[in-house]
């Protein structure tokens, strides 16, 4: 089961131990660049699944890293960097809704994402799955993305989303259950479940 490999902690990539004078501009710069390089992909994907919009996701990641830069001195533990950034990103996303109350209309914009180096069949299936994930209620899809993509445990997700762990586990169950139901309604897609 390859899935255990997912639980990598990207913070380990950030092996640039902050030197004692971590206040110095140069050190801060190095730390920041390491953060950006190691985590911008994860952050972008997370932002995408939060907003279902490539452009908004990109803006959100930019805002997040800009805030992270200003607050970088408050990040003491590099291993916590990713969840720290995700917390900032979630706050930024909430702020975005305060600023403009534009409604995220039904997820049509989650349309064609670019292909990856996979077979055509795989591409179609990914697309189908993406649409289904996007259709999940956000309170279900968010923990699922954190678990599957971020590799976080139930406890981690609970603390990041300010929820009780049982609530998180229930939502994860419902998320997968709904996706599976959707699969079962379309016999052609059952291949995804039983290989």
């Amino acid at each position: 089961m390859k899935i255990f490999g997912n639980k990598k902690t990207p913070a380990q990539v950030l092996d640039t131990e902050p030197s004692k004078n971590s206040n110095s501009m140069a050190t801060k710069q190095v730390r920041y660049e390491a953060l950006v390089k190691a985590l911008h992909g994860d952050l972008y994907r997370y932002a995408y699944w939060l907003t279902h919009d490539k452009q908004v996701a990109e803006d959100l990641v930019q805002e997040t890293f800009l805030r992270a830069w200003r607050a970088l001195d408050s990040l003491k533990d590099e291993k916590a960097a990713k969840s720290w950034l995700i917390t900032i990103l979630r706050r930024e996303n909430a702020r975005r809704f305060e600023r403009k109350r534009f409604d995220m209309s039904e997820y049509e914009e989650a349309s064609i994402m670019d292909t990856q180096s996979t077979t055509t069949e795989q591409v179609i299936e990914n697309q189908w799955l993406r649409d289904k994930i996007a259709q999940l209620p956000p309170e279900y899809s968010e923990p699922l993305v954190l678990q599957v993509l971020g590799g976080y445990s139930g406890e981690d997700i609970a603390s990041m989303l300010n929820l009780n762990k049982n609530t998180v586990m229930t939502r994860l169950f419902r998320a997968r259950n709904q996706l599976k139901d959707a699969l079962e309604k379309e016999p052609g897609k059952m291949r995804l479940l039983h290989e």
Partner: protein, 257 residues
């Protein structure tokens, strides 16, 4: 986030070790976390191959989900982020240095005002006191046997500032320099005297110093001559005949308009 579909609390506790796991509980746990290493979950899997199969299927499904979620990241995003930060901190620096510049400028202005105040404020009320103080201040700058000489032409060039000139030299002129005489631009002449130097000040008439004809202390004596726009002060030690100097000046000086 409101769960208005069903309450989250209706779910049985999944990691209660005293309960043996039934089908529903197992389904809920494994759907919530297909990779669960919970003891009961493992035990249930070992007891029932169908449960193990379900876990396996779900893990495969998670792989599919992961692939689907793994959307491509824009190639230039990383560079954009670095660029934006560089620009932002550059702006910050600029703002900071502007503040620094403003501070430095303020300090410079205040310092300038203070110096100005100290230098040009009148701390003496009459010409005589000031002249004495001035001579004492420069006491060690000039010696009576100084070989330095200033020619009449040079002196008269400087005198032109005061619209005046000497017809003949009053004596051996050691030094002729503009100086600040209590904030006024003045000419300070140093002549060789009998025992010590004789100082002659050509000072524009200003109201803030009162004119004193004669003044002295225990070492020096001085006399002032008032002309139309100018005062000329002579300060020397007590061996010098100020009267003689006064007469020489009076006879020699001519004022132009």
């Amino acid at each position: 986030m409101n769960d208005n579909h069903t309450s989250d609390r209706d779910m049985p506790k999944i990691d209660n070790p005293t309960n043996k796991m039934d089908d529903l509980q197992y389904r809920r746990s494994i759907y919530a976390d297909p990779t669960s290493q919970n003891e009961d979950v493992i035990a249930a899997q070992n007891a029932d191959p169908a449960k193990k199969q379900l876990a396996h299927d779900l893990c495969l499904f998670d792989e599919q989900l992961k692939q689907a979620m793994n959307i491509p990241v824009p190639d230039d995003l990383c560079n954009k982020l670095l660029l934006r930060q560089t620009l932002a901190s550059h702006q910050q620096e600029k703002r900071k240095s502007r503040v620094h510049l403003a501070l430095a400028a303020s300090v410079a202005i205040v310092a300038g005002l203070v110096v100005n105040y100290l230098q040009f404020s009148s701390s003496y009320t009459n010409l005589g006191d000031y002249a004495l103080a001035h001579v004492y201040h420069e006491e060690n700058d000039f010696y009576n046997d100084d070989s330095n000489r200033v020619s009449l032409t040079t002196l008269n060039k400087k005198m032109a500032t005061f619209n005046g000139g000497f017809n003949e030299s009053l004596g051996e002129l050691i030094s002729a320099d503009y100086c600040r005489f209590d904030g006024m631009k003045s000419l300070h002449l140093v002549y060789q005297g009998l025992t010590d130097t004789v100082a002659v000040f050509i000072v524009p008439k200003k109201e803030h110093l009162s004119f004193t004809n004669k003044f002295s202390d225990n070492k020096l004596q001085g006399e002032s001559l008032g002309f139309q726009n100018t005062n000329i002060l002579v300060v020397a030690d007590k061996n010098e005949s100020l009267e003689m100097w006064q007469r020489a000046i009076n006879d020699n000086i001519t004022w132009s308009i």
